[in-house]
Symmetry: C2
Subunit: 343 residues, 2 copies
């Protein structure tokens, strides 16, 4: 029976001390302006000082070997990047700013060397990019590689954008292109080898970019009435936003910015871009609604990321998909539910 | 490849919706006075509003089947209680007050019924007892039962007690009795059956009680110069406090409030109470140091919990144990390190 340990300053010649030393090296410096961190790694807990006039946003995410990544196919560096990126995406989805995070890591002893170094390399890059400081966590030994990340973000009081604010008549938007991450995942599954981190087709699956700047812009300008991030696929996530808001939606298939398939891919896999865009997960794009009277002040792209109208919010609590010849069909919910066998 | 889900208000007839519904039932009501929770389960993230004049304390803890509990021997109810209690204990160790927590839960489908109900029953009791509200988390399906808990607490600015404040001459104290949890664990290991939740010998192992009131009292009155909780055993945790403070310590074996063995137990197991007290983990008692000039204002017990002087902080960076005949020996570090094989 093991007991898990806090990340602590205690050094031991072998074992946990070495793991903690590696982890501590990527922790940010306490006292950095704006981060709010008063005490980082090395005590029973970390201390954070909330910014005046802001609320704290809290979210956590599993990232588990076999469920969310494959030890032999996903580069450790991408595992490190993505475990933080997907949790930070929830902060983006509220229109918040990430501040700091806790890392819970369980590892086999065989992975406390090179694998851990690469994992921490990816994590450090993500932490730097998202300006989110590692301040604590918990490590233990385990046969499987298990990761859990908790992120603390902040949003100015009253500015966080919830899922529940959509009203009939509001227009539905998504950022970026949908289905790119799912296409990348399929490529990786079909390959026998470890994924090539430079393959552009895999980029969105391996190194997703949470839409922090866009989410914050929408929240600060009060443009979006409701918002969430697309983690499980449009056909699973849109019903959640609608349920939270007590509304329905009508989506036009022709308007959905679906992944563009390179010729060799479409031939090889016989993949339908619309199906990838509707049901593929892990895109971490933003899905948001905008009241009609605020439409004029919404750009078509934001810092290079396209913003696309895909339909509207309806009074009837149904989810309809208008197909390319104008027929209305019910939008099937085929995104991912971990407790249900499907696909 | 599964994708984990946030705890969300979305309902599905089967699968994750049912799990979430059960979990949501134990979540606290948003807006309860003092809790600071502005938005609970059901969105991309939770929203918390820090109390004016307080800092936030953040900690997370693994609680994994096979590593921290045994599926067939530990009652689900105790698993629920303990996963929160041990994380809350870190808040107690800083002298803080718990506010809210996030629950990450991975479960086999077979455990989404009765087991989950019992687990949540224990968790709800703990949440009520510690006045700590469930505000979010993440659930997924998994062969093993995996739990990770993040707790947010608060301490008045400048009042949190760190590990690093011990100074030579300070007196070392512990709360309660040490080794009781380890004795309980041994009983459970030796038994073939599921643990009886009413067995008083198992109480401390199954339902540890974080020393919140004592920790807070010490912090608010400024009595303790350094503090931590005993999760991995005195012989492992004391070196951590000393390392953080840059000091050593001299502990008197005769003073350590070791577990009292019932006659039948000592005969049956041949167990040494001092060894249990030194190296046994999971007690979640407080270890703290008090400057000599503040000694007079320290009671011998606090709300029924004994407070016992066990030694003193020294300038020399060694850990010495004075045995019962007055000999000084080096204190062997034999508590738990998950990355080292021992015991």
């Amino acid at each position: 029976m093991e007991k898990a340990k806090h990340i602590t300053a205690n050094r031991k010649p072998n074992g946990e001390g070495v793991v903690l030393e590696r982890i501590e090296r990527i922790a940010g410096r306490v006292g950095v302006r704006g981060a709010g961190v008063r005490l980082g790694i090395g005590d029973d807990a970390a201390i954070f000082r909330g910014t005046k006039g802001f609320n704290q946003i809290l979210t956590c995410d599993w990232f588990l070997e076999g469920s969310h990544f494959l030890r032999d196919k996903h580069p450790a560096d991408a595992v490190g990047w993505k475990c933080l990126a997907r949790a930070v995406s929830d902060i983006a989805a509220m229109g918040g700013v990430p501040r700091c995070f806790l890392l819970s890591l369980a590892l086999p002893e065989s992975h406390t060397g090179l694998w851990l170094e690469e994992f921490l390399g990816g994590l450090r890059l993500a932490a730097k990019q998202f300006e989110c400081m590692l301040i604590g966590g918990d490590t233990t030994r385990r046969r499987d590689i298990l990761v859990n990340v908790t992120v603390v973000g902040e949003a100015r009081t009253g500015q966080a954008v919830l899922r529940s604010g959509a009203r009939p008549g509001d227009i539905l938007f998504v950022s970026g292109r949908l289905g790119e991450a799912e296409l990348g995942l399929r490529q990786i599954r079909q390959s026998q080898r470890r994924a090539n981190i430079r393959d552009p087709l895999l980029r969105k699956h391996l190194y997703p970019a949470p839409r922090l700047a866009l989410g914050r812009w929408l929240a600060e300008r009060g443009r979006a009435s409701a918002m969430m991030d697309l983690s499980d696929g449009l056909s699973t996530d849109l019903p959640r936003l609608c349920a939270a808001s007590g509304v329905g939606a009508r989506v036009e298939a022709a308007k959905i910015p679906a992944v563009r398939l390179p010729n060799q891919v479409s031939a090889k896999h016989g993949t339908d871009p619309l199906a990838l865009a509707l049901h593929g997960g892990d895109d971490y794009e933003l899905l948001f609604t905008v009241p009609q009277k605020k439409l004029r002040r919404l750009p078509r792209s934001f810092r290079g990321i396209p913003i696309t109208e895909i339909g509207e919010v309806t009074h009837e609590k149904e989810l309809l998909l208008v197909d390319k010849v104008g027929r209305e069909v019910r939008l099937p919910n085929r995104g991912w539910d971990p407790f249900r066998q499907h696909r």
